[in-house]
C-alpha cells in the first residue's frame, strides 16, 4: 500500500504527469486512426521513448496503451468497422446506437465504462501481481520453461480459427528468434555481421504491424469513403447511467480473469459479456441489435479489464499474452529491464511508478477524451493516401532510428512483405511476435534447467509447478479433440463462427 502511494506520488510529479498526458494524447490520436490497433500504436510510438528514462517511458506506455484501446473503440462506434477482434462486439451495438443518433451516449458509456473497468482492474492488478511474483520467484528453470511453452501453445491454439495457421506463424517467429550469435555460434546469419546481434524485435514488430498492414490495405483500398457519424460532446442521462453501471461491473468481472490467464485475449470475455447482457436485459432485450446501451457498456468494460489483466502475467512472470503486451515486453527489454518476479525486487520503484501511472492514465483518459471526442472523430476523415503514407513514413523512421543503418530499413521491408503475406493467408500475427520474443528465452531456460541437472532430461518435470503446467498444456491441446468426440458439445473454434453468426444476425 505504501509502495503504491509512493508510486502514485511519482506518477503525479509534474514532469511525469506531462509524460502521461503526452502518452494518452498520442495513444488516442494514433489509436483512433482507422486500421491502427493498440499493438501497432505502441510499436510505432516506441522510438519516441528511446531516450527518456525508463520510468518516464513506462509512464508514457501506460498512457499510450490505454489511449490506444480507447481510440479503437471510438473508431468502431463511429465507423462500424472494428480494427481488431476485441472491438467487434463494440461495433455491433455501438454503431447501431450511433446511427440512431445516440453516438454521444455510446461514446460516453464506452469511455466511462473503460474508466470503471480500468480502475477496478488496476486495483486487482496491484493486489495480485506482487503476490504472483512472490510465488513465481521461487520457481526454477524447469517451471519457467513449462510456463513459456504454455504461453506459446496458448496464444497459438486458443485464439484464432485455424490451429494449423497458428502453429505456422509460431514456427516462423521461433525461426526469426534463432537468428544471431546468442549461443556463441552464428545461426542463420548468412555470414552477415549485421545479423550477429539477432534481428531487433522493434523492427519485426513495426514491420509486421505497420508495414504489413499498410501494404495489405493498399492492395484492397476501399475507394469510396466510409460514412463517419458526426458526434457532439459525449453525455449520458440518468436512464443511461442506470442501464450502464451493472454491465460495466459484469464486463469487468469477465474481462480481468481472462486477461490475467496465460491463454488470455479480449475476444472471449467481450463475447461472453455481450451474451450475458442480452440475456439479462429484461424489457430492453428488444433493443439488442438496434443499439442497446448495455451491449456497448459491458463488452467495452470487458475489453479494458482484460487489457489490465494482461499486465499480471507480463509483470509478474514475464509472459506476454497479447500482441500489445509482447511489444511492451520488447520495449522493457530494450531498457535492460526483464519483466518477471525479479523485477519487483530489483526495481520496486519503477514497478510501482508504472502501476501508479496506470491509475493516472486511466483518469486522464476520461478527463481528456470526453471533451475531445468530436476532435478525435474528425481524425477519421483523414485522406487515406496520407494516412497510409504517414504510417510507412513513421515505420521507416522507427526502424532507421534503431541503428541508423539502411540494413534495418531493408529488414523492415522484408518483414513488411511477410506481414502482407500473413494477412493474405490468414496467418495470425500474435504467435509470430510472441515466438520471436519467447524463443530465445525458452532456449535459455532449457539450457539452465539441463545444466543444473547435468543433462538429465527428467529434471524438466522435476518441479510440481512444471507438472501442473504440462497437464494444462495437454488439456489445451487435447481438450478440443475430446469435446469433438462428444456429440452436441460446443468446440472452442465455434466461438469465431458464433461471433460471425451474431454479426450477421444483428446486421441483417
Amino acid at each position: 500500500m505504501e509502495a503504491l502511494l509512493e508510486g502514485l506520488g511519482m506518477a503525479l510529479q509534474p514532469e511525469n504527469l506531462v509524460y502521461a498526458v503526452v502518452g494518452v494524447l498520442l495513444g488516442t490520436a494514433v489509436g483512433v486512426l482507422p486500421g491502427i490497433g493498440p499493438a501497432m500504436t505502441v510499436a510505432l510510438l516506441l522510438p519516441v521513448t528511446y531516450n527518456v528514462s525508463p520510468s518516464a517511458a513506462l509512464i508514457m506506455f501506460a498512457g499510450i496503451y490505454y489511449g490506444g484501446m480507447y481510440g479503437g473503440s471510438t473508431t468502431s462506434i463511429l465507423l462500424n468497422t472494428p480494427g481488431e477482434s476485441s472491438s467487434v462486439i463494440t461495433a455491433l451495438e455501438g454503431n447501431k446506437m450511433a446511427k440512431t443518433g445516440r453516438a454521444a451516449q455510446a461514446l460516453a458509456t464506452a469511455a466511462i465504462g473503460s474508466f470503471v473497468a480500468g480502475t477496478i482492474s488496476t486495483v486487482l492488478l496491484v493486489a495480485l501481481a506482487p503476490t504472483v511474483a512472490e510465488w513465481v520467484v521461487v520457481l526454477g528453470a524447469p517451471s519457467y520453461f513449462a510456463l513459456m511453452v504454455l504461453a506459446l501453445i496458448a496464444v497459438t491454439s486458443v485464439l484464432g480459427s485455424s490451429k494449423l495457421r497458428g502453429f505456422i506463424s509460431l514456427a516462423l517467429g521461433l525461426t526469426i528468434g534463432l537468428v544471431g550469435t546468442a549461443t556463441g555460434q552464428a545461426r542463420l546469419t548468412f555470414d552477415n555481421p549485421l545479423l550477429a546481434d539477432g534481428i531487433d524485435i522493434v523492427v519485426v514488430a513495426v514491420a509486421i504491424f505497420a508495414v504489413g498492414e499498410a501494404l495489405w490495405v493498399a492492395a484492397h483500398l476501399r475507394r469510396r469513403p466510409l460514412e463517419v457519424i458526426p458526434v457532439g460532446r459525449p453525455w449520458m442521462d440518468r436512464e443511461d447511467w442506470r442501464r450502464s453501471w451493472k454491465p460495466w461491473l459484469r464486463g469487468t468481472a469477465f474481462g480481468f480473469p481472462f486477461g490475467a490467464l496465460p491463454a488470455g485475449g479480449a475476444e472471449m470475455p467481450t463475447f461472453l459479456s455481450y451474451i450475458t447482457e442480452r440475456r439479462l436485459a429484461g424489457r430492453h432485450r428488444a433493443e439488442f441489435g438496434k443499439g442497446a446501451i448495455e451491449g456497448v457498456a459491458g463488452p467495452e468494460a470487458a475489453n479494458n479489464a482484460s487489457a489490465a489483466g494482461t499486465l499480471v502475467p507480463l509483470l509478474a512472470i514475464g509472459l506476454p499474452t497479447t500482441a500489445t503486451a509482447a511489444v511492451i515486453l520488447a520495449a522493457m527489454q530494450g531498457y535492460g529491464l526483464q519483466p518477471g518476479p525479479q523485477l519487483f525486487e530489483a526495481e520496486p520503484e519503477l514497478v510501482w511508478t508504472l502501476l501508479g501511472s496506470l491509475f493516472v492514465a486511466n483518469t486522464l483518459l476520461l478527463v481528456i477524451n470526453l471533451p475531445m471526442a468530436p476532435l478525435w472523430a474528425r481524425l477519421l476523415r483523414i485522406p487515406r493516401p496520407y494516412l497510409y503514407a504517414g504510417i510507412l513514413f513513421f515505420a521507416v523512421l522507427g526502424a532507421y532510428s534503431v541503428n541508423f543503418q539502411w540494413f534495418d530499413v531493408a529488414l523492415l521491408g522484408l518483414f513488411g512483405a511477410l506481414g502482407f503475406a500473413m494477412r493474405r493467408f490468414g496467418l495470425p500475427v500474435l504467435p509470430l511476435i510472441v515466438g520471436v520474443i519467447l524463443g530465445p528465452r525458452l532456449e535459455e531456460q532449457l539450457g539452465q534447467a539441463l545444466q543444473l541437472s547435468q543433462g538429465d532430461v527428467s529434471a524438466l518435470w522435476g518441479e510440481p509447478v512444471a507438472v501442473v503446467v504440462y497437464v494444462v498444456i495437454a488439456a489445451l491441446l487435447l481438450g478440443p479433440l475430446v469435446l469433438r468426440l462428444i456429440p452436441g458439445r460446443q468446440e472452442p473454434e465455434q466461438l469465431e463462427d458464433e461471433i460471425g453468426a451474431l454479426e450477421d444476425e444483428v446486421r441483417s
Binding site: 528511446y50 527518456v52 525461426t175 495489405w216 493498399a218 493516401p385 513514413f393 532507421y400 539441463l450
Partner: protein
C-alpha cells in the same frame, strides 16, 4: 486498375466468400506457394544447424538443437498446409476498416509501394532522412492515389525535416543528416 480478372495470376484472386456467387472456387493455389516457401525456410534452418559446431562444453543444449526442432517443424507444417489446401482449405484474408475484400488484389499499387520502399533503402544512408523521408511520403501518397504530387512533396518535406529536428533536438536521438550535413 487491378488485375481482378485474375486468370493469369491465381494469387491475385482473394477468396470471394460471402459474395453472391457461391460456386466452388477450387483450391487456393497460392497456398501451395506459401507451403513451398515454408518448406524452404525449414530445410534451410536444418541445413544451417547441421553446419554448426558442438558448442561450449558447458552448454547442455547444443546451439544446433533448437534449429533442428524448429526447422523440422516448419517442414512438417508446410506439408500439412499443402495437404489441407489440396483438401479445399482456403485462406481468409484479414478484414479491416479500410479493406475491401470483394475486390481483387491491386498489384499496381503494391508494386509502386514496393518500389518506393526499395528506393528508400537504397538512398537513405546517402541522402539522409530529411530528404529520403520527404520522398518516401510523397511517393507513397502519390502511389496510393493522391495525384497532387507537389503538395505531397511539400507535406513530406515538412514532416521529414520536423521529425529530424524533433528526434535530434527534442528526443536526443542523433539521426545522421546525410547529404544535408551542414544545412540542417
Amino acid at each position: 486498375m487491378s488485375t481482378a480478372g485474375g486468370a493469369a495470376t491465381p494469387s491475385g484472386v482473394i477468396a470471394p466468400e460471402g459474395t453472391a456467387t457461391r460456386v466452388d472456387p477450387g483450391p487456393d493455389r497460392a497456398q501451395y506457394g506459401l507451403a513451398a516457401v515454408l518448406a524452404v525456410i525449414g530445410a534451410w534452418t536444418v541445413v544451417d544447424s547441421a553446419g554448426l559446431g558442438p558448442g561450449f562444453a558447458d552448454q547442455a543444449v547444443r546451439p544446433a538443437a533448437f534449429g533442428y526442432v524448429i526447422g523440422s517443424a516448419l517442414v512438417l507444417l508446410a506439408v500439412l498446409l499443402a495437404v489441407a489446401t489440396a483438401r479445399g482449405d482456403r485462406a481468409e484474408g484479414e478484414a479491416g476498416e479500410d479493406v475491401d475484400l470483394d475486390r481483387g488484389t491491386d498489384w499496381r499499387t503494391l508494386a509502386g509501394l514496393a518500389g518506393v520502399l526499395v528506393a528508400t533503402v537504397a538512398l537513405i544512408d546517402w541522402l539522409g532522412w530529411a530528404v529520403v523521408g520527404a520522398l518516401l511520403f510523397a511517393g507513397a501518397a502519390t502511389v496510393l492515389g493522391n495525384r497532387h504530387w507537389v503538395r505531397n512533396l511539400l507535406i513530406g518535406a515538412v514532416l521529414s525535416v520536423a521529425s529530424w529536428y524533433g528526434f535530434y533536438v527534442g528526443l536526443g536521438i542523433p539521426i545522421p543528416p546525410g547529404v544535408l550535413d551542414g544545412v540542417l
